[in-house]
């Protein structure tokens, strides 16, 4: 799960990680109110959306007076902000963060992520702050510092020193930096984060260390023990069909093709998308109904796929194991009768009780195309959407 920068900074504040003075605003007058309280200009007005690259897209602007805050906030609020991380249509900006301007002397990069290969928590830092860290790692790997921490032991002072000296910090900033880093680690662990990132972390002319930006993502599997984080969820940032699917425990991801598909199991669902592509068509979604799917889940899956107006054909691919094909066929028939099939459907079933499942589909009176195997199914559905 992702949250906004201003929400990330609320968590930073809770962990005594220094952030610029500021506040979130939902309209122009609120933005002016926040700016006035900061006690001096310039201030920075930052669009709050769940995507990076906001500055380049025109979503972050400096304002030197109250009048300029009005102009700038007016430009950003309500804009469709397009960045390399948004869809081509961009994202509607509904709120801005207004913050004090700082005398920046140096910009650093700092993040903490889980390292899946070593099962450790890794701190990544660089003197090349404010830039795309993947590009830095590719072009100048020597500028990247990585420190791996065994989660059973946790962060130790020497880990912090290793990062601090690696960043060539001047003596007066070492202590505030190491304090900040150990608190950031605590935040990462306490909240089961999948990423905390400060880019840039700035050293000011006054030699203070401040998190100018903040990004925090959470492990979805751990949200059950972080109810306070669920309150940060912003449905405006999510695809409406994905929100609908999440209500029924369906794993649905909207894509831009025109072949809807419903599969049991994530690996087989990915492979089904791939085979649709190889057949010359393009998947409209990823949908894993899971190993324990019942008729109701199949029905909801059907309805969600059909709500996508781009869908011109549907491929159902089920490998019956514990979930028997006859049960699934019944579910498909019920769902199709209730929901109404508005586009051609190709069904491929294999596994436990497959003959019985095929018979149920054949005798249902529904306009379903059956396929003998995966390849046959993909070719049939591709032929349908191509007309």
């Amino acid at each position: 799960m992702k949250i906004h920068e201003y929400q990330a900074k609320e968590l930073f504040k809770k962990y005594s990680i220094p952030i610029p003075e500021g506040g979130v605003a939902f309209n122009i007058s609120e933005a002016q109110g926040v700016a006035e309280k900061l006690g001096g200009y310039p201030v920075v007005v930052k669009a709050q959306i769940h995507a990076g690259g906001r500055g380049k897209g025109g979503g972050v602007k400096l304002a030197g007076s109250q009048g300029e805050v009005k102009t700038v906030a007016g430009q950003i609020l309500g804009m469709n902000l397009i960045t390399h991380q948004t869809s081509p249509e961009g994202r509607l900006v509904k709120k801005v963060l207004v913050e004090q301007g700082l005398n920046i002397q140096k910009e650093l990069y700092l993040s903490i992520i889980p390292d899946r290969a070593t099962a450790t928590v890794v701190i990544i830092a660089s003197e090349a702050g404010g830039m795309d860290i993947e590009a830095v790692a590719e072009k100048t790997p020597e500028k990247i510092i990585k420190v791996y921490i065994n989660p059973l032991v946790g962060i130790q002072p020497y880990h912090c020193r290793e990062v601090a000296y690696g960043l060539n910090l001047v003596p007066e900033t070492i202590k505030p930096f190491t304090a900040l880093l150990s608190r950031l680690y605590a935040l990462f662990v306490d909240y089961d984060c999948s990423l905390v990132e400060i880019n840039p972390l700035v050293i000011t002319a006054e030699q203070t260390v401040i998190a100018l930006d903040g990004k925090v993502n959470f492990d979805d599997s751990a949200l059950f023990r972080h109810k306070d984080i669920l309150a940060y969820r912003d449905l405006d940032e999510e695809n409406p069909l994905e929100i609908e699917a999440s209500k029924y425990n369906l794993n649905y991801i909207a894509l831009d093709g025109n072949v809807g598909n419903m599969v049991n199991g994530a690996g087989l669902a990915m492979a089904t998308m791939d085979i649709i592509k190889q057949a010359g068509a393009s998947p409209a979604n990823f949908l894993d109904v899971g190993g324990g799917a019942n008729a109701e889940m199949v029905e909801n899956g059907f309805r969600i796929i059909l709500s996508d107006k781009n869908v011109k054909g549907i491929l159902i691919n089920i490998f019956g194991g514990i979930l028997r094909c006859d049960i699934l066929a019944e579910g498909v028939v019920q769902a199709a009768k209730k929901t109404g099939i508005t586009v051609p459907v190709v069904v491929r079933m294999e596994g436990t009780n497959v003959e019985e499942g095929r018979r149920i589909l054949r005798e249902s009176g529904l306009n379903l195309t059956t396929a003998v195997d995966l390849k046959d199914a993909a070719l049939k559905v591709a032929a349908i959407v191509k007309g």
Binding site: V189, D219, S221, R225, G267, M270, D376
Partner: protein, 291 residues
Amino acid sequence: MSIFVDKNTRLLVQGITGKEGQFHTRQCVAYGTQVVAGVTPGKAGQKMDNVPVFHTVKDAVKATGANCSMIFVPPPFAADAIMEAADAGVALIVAITEGIPVMDMMRVKNFLAGKPCRLIGPNCPGIITPGECKIGIMPGPIHQPGGPIGVVSRSGTLTYEVVHQLTRQGIGQTTCIGIGGDPVNGTNFIDCLDAFQKDADTSGIVMVGEIGGTAEEEAAEFIQKYVTKPVIGFIAGLTAPPGRRMGHAGAIISGSSGTGQGKIAAMKSCGIAVCEDLGTLGELCAKVFGK
């Protein structure tokens, strides 16, 4: 022969009295697996069918000599269950549970380091040596006993698809292992490849990977250096968009890392026969494995 499990494996089931635990225990018993004990705290003295239930894994091991555990404990308590099994001296732990927090699994993995115990999963279908022993949730009848092919995969139903295509070609399996779809897991591709290479009855290997992480790339390098048996590789998720979790917690492309295209290139450069069309995997296996 086989790897990790066979007809002598003595299985205990943690979470045996839950809905999933009961259902799949019965399926395993029906397949012929020796299920000797169950563990549900608070239910010692009860029986699930004919299987005695114990409060703790230690009690179960002491009373029955169980040497393998299958875990159906819900995600919030699963890490604890794995560590309990390891502490009780269980040699093989198969964690079926999906949705264990990453931080919990990182702690578990470090806890297990240096202990004489192997973890398979979590978030996996389990492991089966066809005709001898089924430990997990996979459908038994699609498998063909007798070998000579070993299967290792990060997926569940996709593994069934692969096994089904092998069986349809008349190609049997020695052992099929699902190592799980989570970012942090126990046994990895390399552990299985190494075991299959050393297993006299396995003459070829099918390896089923997916997007996310670097496990397939590392496995490909290992194969080039140490595996002399033919290997067929498959990668799911070539059309997956970056930055999205594709059902499995571990199936996510982060920046330029973990793409299907990168994995296929790595496998090809290490001499692995890559199947790029799942619909024809069975035919490719028949060709490469010479059936």
